[in-house]
């Protein structure tokens, strides 16, 4: 699917279609230059305006999080708070009504466990499907692909029924295990391994390694970028996921950061500055992951969309 697609047969060749442009013209650079420059400048202005617009929510997060409550609710809009109250962060973690530290711990455990588990299970499955010949491999492949048709969000009621009858409600197990089997991740790994250079594996086989040891000693060490790409996408998804933790994490003890934030947004008993400092703290780990691993995330997004 990665090969460029041929031109749509219904679209005539460019240039042959539009009347009046058939004759190759040599343009006078003196006539065109100013127009091109104006266009380029306009585009840049538009981009800068859009970029500022896109950054406003992050600005509000910091502004409100570090303001005094009176500054936020004042009728007079202030772009910068009169004083930056870093003590808001301490106040958040001292507030006995907001189990922020515990929620952060839960979210970290869940995100790390989900990422590692998904990578292990999906990469093994992807490799098996791509490389081990088996008569019914196609059947298994469609068995996995079929679940892509039914998104997890629609199956949350039945899955909740199952998890509750296992007694896993409000446990980390219940939050992690049902989300580990990502058909999307297995599909990305399969596509990747189909294009993995076979010579490397053949060399390992000549050295007497079986499938298992070839996989761990040759394939995995040479596939770090794809693991990083899928891993960061899964990590972000697990950290930000909301519906499943809301359904399963019913006890306060099992709240993730997202559920804790949501509870306080809808309860309207918490101070605005505290809510915003909590939100800022909750996206900080992700921004760090994001800034350092952005090229893997971009690679992961490209894979996820195009091979879909």
């Amino acid at each position: 699917m990665r090969k460029p697609l041929g031109r749509d047969p219904h679209t005539p060749a460019p240039g042959a279609r539009a009347p009046g442009v058939r004759e190759p013209r040599v343009r006078d650079p003196l006539v065109r230059e100013p127009l091109v420059r104006v266009g380029r400048a306009l585009r840049l202005v538009l981009l800068i305006a859009l970029a500022l617009l896109f950054l406003i929510p992050f600005y509000l997060l910091v502004r409100n999080g570090l303001s005094r409550e009176e500054d936020i609710t004042s009728a007079e809009w202030t772009f910068f708070p009169s004083e930056l109250r870093w003590s808001n962060i301490g106040e958040l973690f001292d507030d006995p009504n907001v189990p922020m530290a515990h929620a952060l711990l839960n979210s970290s455990l869940i995100a790390v466990a989900t990422t590692l588990g998904t990578l292990l299970l999906a990469s093994l499955a992807g490799y098996g499907l791509a490389r081990i010949p088996y008569r019914y491999a196609n059947v298994v492949f469609y068995w996995i692909l079929g679940t892509l048709m039914v998104p997890a969000a629609v199956t949350f009621v039945p899955t909740f029924v199952l998890v509750s009858s296992l007694g896993w409600v409000s446990t980390l197990r219940g939050l992690v295990v049902p989300t580990l089997f990502s058909a999307f991740a297995a599909f990305v790994f399969r596509q990747y391994f189909l294009g993995f250079p076979r010579e490397l594996e053949d060399a390992a086989r000549v050295d007497g390694l079986g499938y298992w040891r070839t996989y761990w000693r040759v394939v995995v060490p040479n596939s770090r970028p794809v693991f990083a790409a899928v891993g960061t996408i899964v990590f972000i998804g697990a950290w930000n996921s909301f519906l499943w933790p809301l359904v399963i994490g019913q006890d306060r003890e099992a709240w993730t950061v997202q559920v804790a934030l949501s509870t306080f947004t809808t309860a309207q008993t918490v101070n605005i500055h505290e809510l915003f400092v909590a939100a800022a703290v909750s996206i900080l780990p992700l921004l760090v992951v994001f800034l350092f691993l952005q090229r893997y995330i971009v690679a992961g997004v490209e894979r996820s969309g195009i091979d879909d």
Binding site: A125, I132, W143, S165, Q258, I272, F290
Partner: protein, 333 residues
């Protein structure tokens, strides 16, 4: 699959015999049938088995169970005895709230799909042609992807579209002398749609921009050179006859993803609109409806399961229909 046959031949012809290959003897044919040549069947299941099993347990079993439950009166129980036939389905389809939720989804899709498509494509086109600071602008537009819907909804609800006077949108309106608007609680005109759609637009546009950027970079340069030689004017003509047709595969993928994601919308609706008094009667997309039916006060799992089955069917039909319509599904690779 051509790959399989190739590998088969390679293994049969030149591949080394594995040390743990089945021993020859009277028992060999049976074992060979079970484990496959060179234990390949065994190894296939070692690699794929755990995943396929888990998928069965946590996707297919719940789905099957849910179909079973949907034929029973199951209040607060997962092992019901009161068989009601198709009553749950009939009740679901007669329920105005359920059909309203489907209408909500359609309205939401009509807003969000074209808006996200156009914004992300425009961003990609502009960023792609930048000579400098390309990485900077790409990062800025991509950054919201790291944000959760919960945090975004919190910022939108409590700060930007706060109905009181210190909300940013109302402050800006105030500069122009306009009246304040209660963004989320006004149903006439339905301003809440502006709030709901902009959250998702902000959060997703960068994601799809990256997809379009990848698509743009795969367009062969020589097509543009040929167009320039033929005298196509840079700008609209080149976009109309070269760029957009070349982005066909990406555009289809983006549209499919946008519709599926719109169908699954829950987080921003829930966090923007529900408060300590519960969820308002308007703007309930399917998943919010399902959440309150199945897990709310009554815990009517039979009815909720029937709803889940109906939604699963709808989404499967929509996905297949879209794929057919766009001419996917035929073997391309």
């Amino acid at each position: 699959m051509p790959q399989d046959t190739l590998l088969d031949q390679a293994d049969e012809a030149g591949g080394p015999r594995r040390r743990d290959a089945p021993p020859s003897g009277p028992a060999a044919p049976a074992r060979r049938r079970l484990l496959g040549p060179q234990n390949r069947t065994l190894w296939f299941w070692v690699f794929v088995g755990p995943f396929a099993l888990g998928l069965g347990l946590f996707t297919y079993v719940p789905l099957g169970w849910s179909v079973y439950l949907s034929f029973f009166d199951a209040h607060n129980t997962v092992s019901p005895t009161d068989f009601v036939g198709l009553d749950n389905y009939a009740a679901m389809l007669r329920d105005d709230a359920f059909t309203d939720s489907l209408v909500t989804f359609l309205v939401f899709t009509a807003f969000i799909v074209p808006a996200t498509f156009l914004l992300s494509l425009s961003l990609a086109l502009m960023v792609n042609r930048l000579r400098w600071a390309q990485a900077f602008f790409r990062s800025v537009f991509f950054l919201p992807v790291a944000c959760s819907y919960v945090v975004a909804a919190l910022i939108w609800k409590m700060s930007i579209f706060n109905g009181v006077r210190f909300g940013l949108a109302n402050t800006v309106l105030g500069w122009f002398g306009a009246d304040q608007i209660a963004w989320l609680s006004t149903t006439d005109p339905p301003w809440y749609w502006l709030v709901i759609v902009t959250v998702r637009l902000w959060l997703q546009a960068g994601f799809y921009m990256v997809l379009f950027l990848a698509g743009l970079q795969r367009i062969p340069r020589h097509l543009y050179e040929a167009a320039a030689v033929d005298g196509a004017r840079p700008g609209w003509q080149v976009f109309r006859y070269i760029t957009f047709p070349q982005l066909r595969a990406t555009s289809i993928a983006v549209t499919l993803l946008l519709v599926i994601n719109a169908f699954q919308a829950f987080d921003e609706f829930y966090n923007l609109l529900s408060d300590s008094r519960g969820y308002p009667p308007y703007a309930r997309p399917p998943l919010v409806y399902l959440y309150y039916t199945a897990l709310g006060q009554g815990q009517n799992l039979g009815l909720g399961s029937a709803g889940a089955v109906i939604l699963a069917l709808i989404i499967a039909v929509v996905t297949v229909a879209q794929a057919r319509w766009f001419g996917l599904g035929r073997k391309e690779d």
